[in-house]
């Protein structure tokens, strides 16, 4: 059977994430540890989008809304309480609640296709405008000022649950981030293989048919949407815990499009691709920004255009294709006469 669920590839990928999580701190220097932790939390954000887009076919142009709400929820609660456990929980819960409301409004209202994308974008932009206009000291939540454009800074890092002030070291945070990334990846990959996941995939393929088989696509989409929002919220919390800062730009078009472009670059429908692409592109943007090349936008733009030329299907599918081609080539050289037997007859 050829279900996109648990297979050798996804287990290997999970295993390598776990190896990085556990082995990374002893190999990398502190800066790399901090940098990769931040990268990994954005990578986590993109996994949820890759899931809801690749499996269910929902293109959310406002994925940053969930990420941003998670980020703000974490910042506000961790400052107000001086403890991060509840803040992380709230960062998962708050975007989920928004996703339930928004998803009910959209899916049960039969808004589809790009129209749904634009509504999610609008939600994100409204949050962006709103957060920007909260500079006045009267805008406080739990006595934490929202800070407007300047955002909220000096957000405390994660602490061991229940031990107030017992902060995780950067190395422990790094391990935690990568383990969470691995866990979420594995969970989503597992979900894809389950009965629910397979029914979800059928929504993307043919919503009407799915409906006529007695499944409720509105419900399935809502479930997927909320899952992706919860993951994005967790990602926002981790990102804020890593960088110590959150501002309204988490809601802007740039943030949303980054998530989308990483998912595309990784290859539609692959979760590992989205993760790999997000690491690659973040590293690239950061590298170009310090390397004093001509002009960062120009170089980055050119790289992306070339990238589309070279790997039009995205990173992981292109690499898989290459590997398949290579192995076929190798097999052909080994046992050339049997090739004809491989061709598939067209009758059932």
């Amino acid at each position: 059977m050829n279900y996109a669920g648990m297979n050798a590839g996804s287990l290997t990928f999970t295993a390598s994430l776990v190896v990085v999580a556990l082995g990374g701190p002893s190999v990398l220097d502190t800066f790399q540890v901090l940098q990769l932790s931040a990268y990994s939390s954005l990578a986590l954000g993109v996994v949820g989008l890759a899931f809801v887009w690749g499996i269910l076919g929902i293109l959310s142009l406002g994925h940053a809304a969930f990420f941003g709400i998670g980020a703000y929820a974490y910042a506000i609660l961790s400052i107000a309480q001086g403890e991060s456990t509840f803040a992380v929980a709230a960062a998962i819960l708050a975007p989920s609640v928004l996703a339930v409301c928004l998803g009910y409004f959209l899916f049960y209202g039969r808004v589809g296709d790009v129209y749904l994308s634009v509504i999610t974008l609008c939600v994100s932009l409204i949050l962006f405008s709103f957060m920007n206009s909260t500079a006045d000291v009267s805008y406080t939540l739990l006595s934490v000022p929202l800070g407007g454009f300047n955002g909220i800074s000096a957000v405390p890092p994660l602490n061991w649950p229940g031990f107030v002030g017992d902060f995780l070291t950067p190395e422990a945070t790094f391990s935690l981030c990568f383990l969470l990334l691995a866990a979420v990846y594995l969970a989503l990959q597992f979900l894809r293989g389950t009965r629910l996941g397979r029914i979800m995939a059928s929504v993307r393929e043919n919503e009407r048919r799915c409906e006529l088989l007695g499944y409720d696509p509105r419900w399935l989409k809502l479930v997927g949407f909320v899952i992706s929002a919860a993951i994005a919220g967790l990602a926002g919390a981790l990102f804020t815990a890593n960088t110590g800062y959150v501002g309204p730009t988490v809601f802007d078009l740039g943030q949303s499009s980054q998530f989308i472009l990483w998912a595309i670059a990784g290859g539609m429908g692959t979760l590992s691709g989205a993760i790999i692409a997000s690491f690659m592109l973040q590293f690239l943007a950061s590298f170009i920004g310090t390397s004093q090349l001509f002009n960062t936008s120009l170089v980055f733009g050119t790289v992306i255009i070339f990238f589309v030329y070279a790997l039009p299907n995205g990173i992981v599918p292109s690499l898989q294709g290459l590997l398949r081609k290579l192995s076929r080539l190798a097999r052909r050289q080994r046992r050339r006469p049997e090739v004809i037997g491989d061709s598939i007859k067209s009758t059932p």
């Binding site: 749904l116 932009l125 002009n295 936008s297 120009l298």
Partner: protein, 287 residues
């Protein structure tokens, strides 16, 4: 009385600006289903073409109305032939591609001209209504946007190319069986869309800050307008502009601009909830 008039002009300007910045995107998105992330940069290129050729001694009106659209149409054609053409029908790849293109264009313009370019002033002076004075150029923009919509409508319905374009977008396979080369129609349509964006840039050059990054401030609003408008390029986009322009202007006037902007977006959400296929689909259903 004069206050009502000035408010009306402000609202009309809002509508005209939305129409101008959205039309090019509407043609490219509405007809070809390409989410063009470089739309804002096409507007920027139009503004630059206007400013640079005016600074080089060109007549402002020629620069604005001829050079800007022609130049950006050419750039658009180049992009279409070299890049977009290979990926028609692939929404995601074209998104990635046009994002790259957008960064590339901003980077190139910055590298070539720096991030400070001498602008040009709005021509035509001002007129006074009672206690208020209003830019004549603003009135020109309103009139021009109206003419542009009218012209585009005539072009799409009355000319051979317009009909062919609409037919091809509706059903490329059918069009090609009729002996029309869809590739050429796509290329021409993309160029027309880019040209319209360039024209918008040219027209806005005297009333906006001409900088390499200026496109970013238009792109989200243009998207919302076009997509809320729905599949009918002209009716939908103009209808959406007529809805959002006044909402933003009036709410900004009676409360704050942030709420004005938020209410525009909220109106878009509500509109799409009530008419899930966009405004023009709603029109069609009710008639």
């Amino acid at each position: 009385m004069d206050q009502v008039l000035v408010t009306a002009i402000a609202i009309a300007t809002g509508i005209a600006t939305l129409v101008l910045i959205s039309l090019g995107l509407a043609v490219i998105f509405g007809m070809m289903r390409i989410i063009n992330f470089a739309h804002g940069e096409f507007i920027m290129l139009g503004a630059y073409a206007t400013v640079l050729s005016t600074n080089a001694g060109m007549n402002l009106w020629i620069a604005m109305l001829v050079i800007a659209p022609a130049f950006v149409a050419l750039v658009g054609l180049g992009c279409e032939r070299l890049l977009i053409r290979r990926y028609y029908g692939n929404l995601t790849t074209t998104m990635l591609l046009t994002w790259g293109l957008s960064l590339f264009l901003v980077g190139s313009v910055t590298a070539l001209f720096g991030n400070t370019t001498r602008g040009i002033a709005a021509p035509l002076g001002s007129v006074t209504f009672g206690n208020y004075s209003v830019s004549v150029y603003q009135l020109f923009l309103i009139a021009f946007a109206a003419l542009l919509v009218l012209g585009a409508a005539l072009f799409l319905t009355r000319t051979r190319f317009g009909l062919i374009a609409r037919g091809t977008m509706q059903n490329p396979a059918m069009a090609s069986t009729l002996g029309i080369d869809p590739g050429r129609v796509y290329a021409a349509t993309f160029a027309v869309g880019a040209g319209l964006s360039g024209l918008a840039g040219g027209l806005l050059a005297p009333v906006s800050g001409v900088l390499p990054n200026m496109g970013a401030s238009y792109v989200a609003k243009a998207f919302v307008t076009v997509i809320a408008g729905g599949s009918s390029v002209l009716v939908g986009t103009t209808g959406a502009a007529f809805m959002f322009g006044p909402i933003e202007a009036i709410v900004s006037l009676i409360s704050t601009p942030v709420i004005g902007q938020a209410s525009l977006l909220a109106a878009a959400i509500l509109l799409l909830r009530l008419m899930p296929m966009g405004l023009s689909a709603g029109f069609r259903r009710s008639t």
